[in-house]
Amino acid sequence: MITCLLAAYQVAVGINGLENVPTIAYTIAFGVLLVAGLLIIILGIEVLNSRIVVMVSSIIPLSLSLGLIWEHFAFLRLPYLIFAIVAYLTIIITRSITIPVKVSTIILAIVHGVAGLVVFLLPSIFSAQGKANPGFALVGLGGALIGLGGLLLYFLRTGRPIVSSETIMRILPALLLLMTIAFVAGFTLA
């Protein structure tokens, strides 16, 4: 519930005054978090076992990274926008048709790797270099947590968990909450 409220706050208040593309990108990212949170409340954490979760959860790092790139690296705007769209379409296609699992996993790893690194590194480096408020580094922490959550979900889906599925199910709501707190605080302090 707190995760949902924080995500709702970020959509309604936290991203005012930005350009159109970052506003849309952050709205999508936090909107997905909000709706996903509501569905978890309605259906229980077991809903994360669903096949569609991989497709939906990819939206969050991709949109966040797009928003960050658009705000801070003007020369990369168009290439990254194209990357984000193509990457997402590729994930949807590879998850919808029958192809070797290895291929779809590699694609997912590349996409999440790139987006995750942007969300983790960009705020961390900017904060360290003094280009942004130190609090902006919390967005990077959120990026790290989302990466951890993604890994846990991946292990859960593939049935090769490093910890038991029960433990993952217990950890994930807390992880989701911490991640949202980090993002909201990071963007507020930036």
């Binding site: 709702a8 005012n16 909107g31 709706v35 509501l38 569905l39 259906l43």
Partner: protein
Amino acid sequence: MRIVNLIRTKVSSYIPLIKSMQTSLLLSTGLAGYMSAHTHLELNMLFGLVGSLFLAISGSTILNMWYDCDIDTVMNRTHNRPLAMGTVTKQEALWLGVILSLAGVGWALVINRLYCLVVFAGLFFDVIVYTIWLKRRTSWSIVWGGISGGMPILAGRVLAIGQIDLVGLLLMMAVLFWIPTHILTFNMRYFSDYLTARVPTFPSVYGFEATRAIIALSAILAAASIGVAGVMIGVQAGVLRLMAVLSSGLLLLSFATVFRPSEQVNFSLFKYASIYMLASMILLSL
């Protein structure tokens, strides 16, 4: 002491008659309709709105239950309601329903005549047109149930601005179109119950596929009505963004019921639709 205990027992047996969740949701729409005008808040007016709407909605709900007692008795989902169980007699329920309805409409009349007319229309459409006349005859009765469900929000708006305007009608349409996403998913979930009670529903008359398509269509119309109303009210950009996000969730779940139907998706839509309506009402009030 014995009298106090008797009153306490009676009151506690009457409470389930008003379907507190449903009444609260309708009451919240009435409040949202009032707050959407963003006029100067008058506490006595607000108190009158809440009190009169609560009485009228509770009264009509009890009258529904009184009339549908035979249906409740044969349905699994409702057979343990106070009237079906016999813990409250039909005569008691009838009197209670009539008294609360009259009190609600009477209070509304004291506050404002047009407001009273809208409150009365809601009660009339719900009890007479929907419950007594159409519910057992046609699955299309839901339209009239929807119109009566939209009356509290219109009433709230009317009380705030003193007239029926386009925004008020849009808000009413939003509730009207939202209701199928809630009720029709319910009809599918308890399909056999309704069949046993011989209450015609969209799934039993037109089939599940057509019902799912209607749910998706009504979700689009509900989201559009709320969105347009929000723009016309002049809600802030951030609030509009949040409404768009919540509407997207509603639309996605509605489309999921059409293209990937399952009991889980059906249940999610049913629950999400309630949260969506409550959240939208809060946002329109900001």
